[in-house]
């Protein structure tokens, strides 16, 4: 399906007078979310695909939030990237499908996004796997 990308179609919307009003509104919302995280330990997130954003909005959002210290790549049903921004506690989470198309994008306000945590069920299952290998080694 990647061949679609090779077809030379250019789509123009026409309105070049883009403003970044949505980005600043989002940044104010993030400020409040960080307060909630610090004071009440409440995690929250913003679905970026649900918000109409111009290219200017996106540029402002990326510039103000900046690059943080940590980026994690997760391979689960295609790639997911979890990147902490320069504003600690604000994580930019991007989900791709197996053909590297973005299928969902979130800003998560959390000390550690759920996607990074190991789940108890998975720990239990893989612990069994480890024990099986240990048992085989002892035989």
């Amino acid at each position: 399906m990647n061949a679609w990308k090779d077809i030379g179609i250019e789509v123009g919307v026409g309105d070049k007078g883009e403003r970044a009003a949505n980005a600043w509104a989002l940044l104010h919302e993030i400020e409040g979310m960080l307060d909630e995280l610090l004071n009440n330990d409440k995690e929250s997130s913003i679905d970026l695909r649900g918000i109409p954003m111009s290219a200017a909005d996106r540029t402002v959002l990326e510039r103000v939030l900046g690059e943080g210290e940590l980026t994690a790549r997760i391979t689960a049903l295609g790639l997911s990237q979890v990147r902490e921004t320069a504003i600690h506690g604000v994580w930019w989470v991007t989900h791709y499908n197996t053909e590297d198309t973005v299928v969902a994008e979130f800003l998560e306000v959390s000390s550690c996004p759920d996607m990074l945590r190991s789940h108890a069920d998975d720990i239990r299952d893989t612990l069994e796997n480890l024990r099986t290998q240990l048992a085989q080694h002892q035989e």
Binding site: I74, N97, T98, M115, H119, D121, D122
Partner: protein, 354 residues
């Protein structure tokens, strides 16, 4: 089939980690415009549930709806729906055939009364003898299977509204499932219409996930989930600014067409069609019909096949004119404003649940 297995247990047994499941739920929740964080809640709810049994019935249809789902552009994400549900009967996909296949359907009806979900593509002929499976008429199969179901999901315009088999002159007496329920020919059950010819894959998946997590989603006046059918193609169309400015392509190869102007005068049904194509798009997110230069056919609306030429503007089509603007269609801006008002009024009514 493991009877007591939960969705979470089943996924882990098939090597799908919690992270992958969280991703599936997050992507699905985002597509349904559910509140941020709903993905996590859905994952927690679904993981604890037993996999619901699903019987998929195919009546007068072309199998395009199944093709849409199984050949979706994000296969490993959207096909995960087949791990979330226990698809016990689907003529196209199941390995069993003949009496063994019919026995599988009967076993679910008998063993899980009131708990299984029936998904239906295709309309049902009520005139005698037009279609039988295993010696039984489609109407009898539908009536028998739906009688003990928890809910019915109509996949595609044929089962939702009758579709092409229902189109004039409708030689088989085809009817949609809601028509059959209204006429008492099939027992009434909670019904969700996921229309489209075919429906968008993520819409099918999203509706099933929503039903399993929260129950029947909020529906519009023709039984479609508002999350996907709450706005017209026109409302979210990237060519909308040209419509409002009165800039219309007059032919498929004129200067307006080359400049990407509005296709209203070439018959686009976007202003009266409720669906998510303009935002969800098709083919790896490449485009939707209008973006490829062709007007919307209105395939997710009732009677779309009988509303006159696909190439006649709405105001002059056989439907009698949606806006009653007639000749004013040529006035461009007037059309834009009028259509916007009608469209917004409809939108408001939908939001108010009217």
């Amino acid at each position: 089939m493991a009877k007591s297995e939960t969705v979470g247990e089943h996924l882990r047994r098939h090597g799908i980690s919690r992270r992958a499941f969280l991703k599936f739920c997050a992507v699905t929740a985002s597509a349904m415009a559910l509140p941020p964080g709903a993905g996590k809640a859905i994952a927690e709810t679904l993981a604890k549930q037993q996999r619901p049994n699903v019987i998929w019935l195919s009546f007068q249809e072309c199998t395009g709806c199944t093709e849409s789902l199984t050949r979706s552009y994000a296969p490993t994400i959207e096909k995960l729906i087949f791990d979330v549900i226990s698809l016990d009967y689907h003529e196209t996909l199941m390995a069993a055939s003949g009496e063994a296949a019919e026995a599988a359907r009967e076993a679910i009806i008998k063993d899980y009364p009131g708990k299984y979900v029936v998904m239906i593509d295709g309309s049902v002929p009520v005139e005698g003898g037009y279609a039988t499976i295993g010696g039984k008429s489609m109407l009898d199969i539908c009536k028998h299977t739906v009688a003990n179901a928890a809910a019915v999901v109509c996949v595609g315009t044929c089962s939702s509204f009758g579709g092409i088999p229902y189109a004039n002159p409708n030689p088989t007496g085809a009817k949609s499932i809601s028509m059959l329920m209204d006429e008492g020919l099939v027992p009434r059950k909670p019904l969700i219409n996921v229309s489209g010819c075919p429906p968008i894959p993520v819409v099918i998946t999203g509706v099933v996930v929503h039903y399993l997590s929260y129950g029947v989603p909020e529906l519009d006046h023709v039984g479609r989930p508002k999350a996907f059918f709450g706005q017209t193609i026109h409302d979210r169309c990237y060519r909308r600014p040209f419509y409002d400015q009165g800039k219309f392509a007059k032919t498929f190869d004129d200067e307006g067409a080359r400049n990407g102007w509005c296709l209203f005068e070439l018959g686009c049904k976007g202003p009266t069609t409720y669906n998510s194509c303009a935002t969800t798009k098709w083919n790896d997110g490449t485009s939707f019909p209008i973006e490829s230069g062709h007007g919307c056919l209105g395939c997710s609306e009732p009677n779309f096949w009988d509303k006159g030429s696909f190439y006649a503007p709405l105001a002059t089509s056989e439907s009698g004119g949606v806006y009653g603007l007639g000749a004013a269609a040529a006035a461009g801006v007037a059309v834009g404003v009028g259509a916007a008002i009608v469209s917004r009024n409809h939108q408001k009514k939908l939001q108010e649940g009217k």
